[in-house]
Amino acid sequence: MVVTTTWYLVLAAVLFSMGSVGLLTRRNPLVMFMCVELMLNAVNLTFVSLGADLGDLGGQLSVFFVLVVAAAEVVVGLAVIVAIMRRRPGATADDLSVLGG
């Protein structure tokens, strides 16, 4: 059996869906961050396989930018979590309910 680009794209789509469903349903902030990472890396996989399919370097180049952005994003997210945990040890996403939404 030949593994074609489509396989990779489908795998990426599955990973992306798992990430987005996880982000919406999980309560632990750290697991939510892992889900964001999963989504971004699913996109990376899409970029790489499409780039290889097109014979174009742009797709692989994009991955570097995405990796840096993902790292920066998590740093900020962790900082916000630390700020919240200092005030309320053991908080989960459900405890963030001071605001009306």
């Binding site: 964001v36 797709g59 994003e73 997210g77 001071v98």
Partner: protein, 496 residues
Amino acid sequence: MLAVATPEVLWWALLPVLFLSVGGLLLLTVASLVRRLPDWLPQAWTVVTGLAVLVACVPMWCEVRDEGPRTTLAGSVAVDGSTVLVTAVLAAVVVAVALLARPYLRREDLPGVEVYVLLMLSAAGGVVMASADDLIVLFLGLEILSIAVYVLAALHLRRIESQEGAMKYFVLGAFASAFLLYGMALVYGATGSTRLALVAEHLSATVLVDDSMLLAGIALLLVGLAFKVAAVPFHAWTPDVYQGSPTPVVAWMAAGVKAAGFAAMVRVLVTSLGTHASDWAPPVGVLAVASVLVGAVVAVLQTDVRRMLAYSSVAHAGFLLLGVQAADADGTAAVYAYLVVYALLATGSFAVLTVMGGDGDAAHHLDDYRGLARRRPVLAGAFTLLLLGQAGVPFTGGFVAKLGVLAAAVADRGYWVAGLAMLGAAAAAFVYLRILVSMYLEDPDAEAADGSTGPAVPLGARVVIGVACAGVLFVGLVPGPLLDLARDAVPVLVGS
């Protein structure tokens, strides 16, 4: 030695980004080296940087107008009217927020440098985003803008609401970014390039046999962008974040982030994917109508003025989308005119809210505005003008802006969309009326009545509110210059 081909760089076109990013980093470095920085220095530095960007925009505008639009850095950064106009708007909002921030920080007893640094860096990201001619550059600009704003939202150390709002903003923002990026990857796969000019070229030159990947990409792009500009049904974060964040920061979120988001949206959808407008324009029209109606109706149910204005900003996003879904030059010009007017209205309104917040940034209930006209007639008058502008009353800038997008929608035969949006505008007027009634017709609370004159208005806030009111009135009475400006700002794709 191997010669590396370096792309041609138009340095003058990159001056705004350089000013803002170098200005921000310089301030950060100096502030971390010097033990005690004078209180006024970070603010003055930010204001000077913002004004320098504004000044740099003038020759850029003339150059673009005379020599035509162009692209630089190997086709990744556009230099056209759109870039310059949005850059100028962002720089003006940076100056305004810097003026509001210092008295706010002193009142709330917060450390004073980070706000300015993050504000400038965020604005640099906004400029990159507005001028991106490449999807990856757009993503980078968006993230530079957003990550700085996540931190800004969490900046009030003693209000748990501030951190909570930041957390919600962060999670949903990251979610939206991932969708946007996935959309970019699929558009790249369908067209073979991330450069907007090449995407447009490919789409107009070839007929795709199977365009499912392109359509999925466009849909995901749309979801990501709609999150960023807070359109219904992707608006859930807006009221919480606006309520939780420090009020001067909200001014930046409302005016700055929205301007950059719509500039990017117009460039990607209308300019680059314009050949497929029949695919994306109807969903955008639905988003527009939903935003206007939901924003207006839910705003009526709120009692916190910040949440009211958050929902009204959702309604404004709907009107802006109305211009986008027209998918032509007129609609785009109307969007830019609306963005300028909305920047004035939003910064002015949130400047009033900053002043009204009082100690702890907590006095934002509708009852806190009772009898404001008796206690602070000038402030109440200015807020009245800004609210009337938001409602789109004739002889204010808001009317000109709303008329523009509605006319664009009607010219595009979007009668239903335009009609429903008018209905939403009428419902939204009720929200602003509620605040006005509270200010003028209700008596102040007993404690507020005995002798207290209401909150003090610092000089910076006076300047911001004054300029915003003057701008709103000027555009309302003499709309010609702004409309000409907006028409010249319609983005153009330049192939290399």
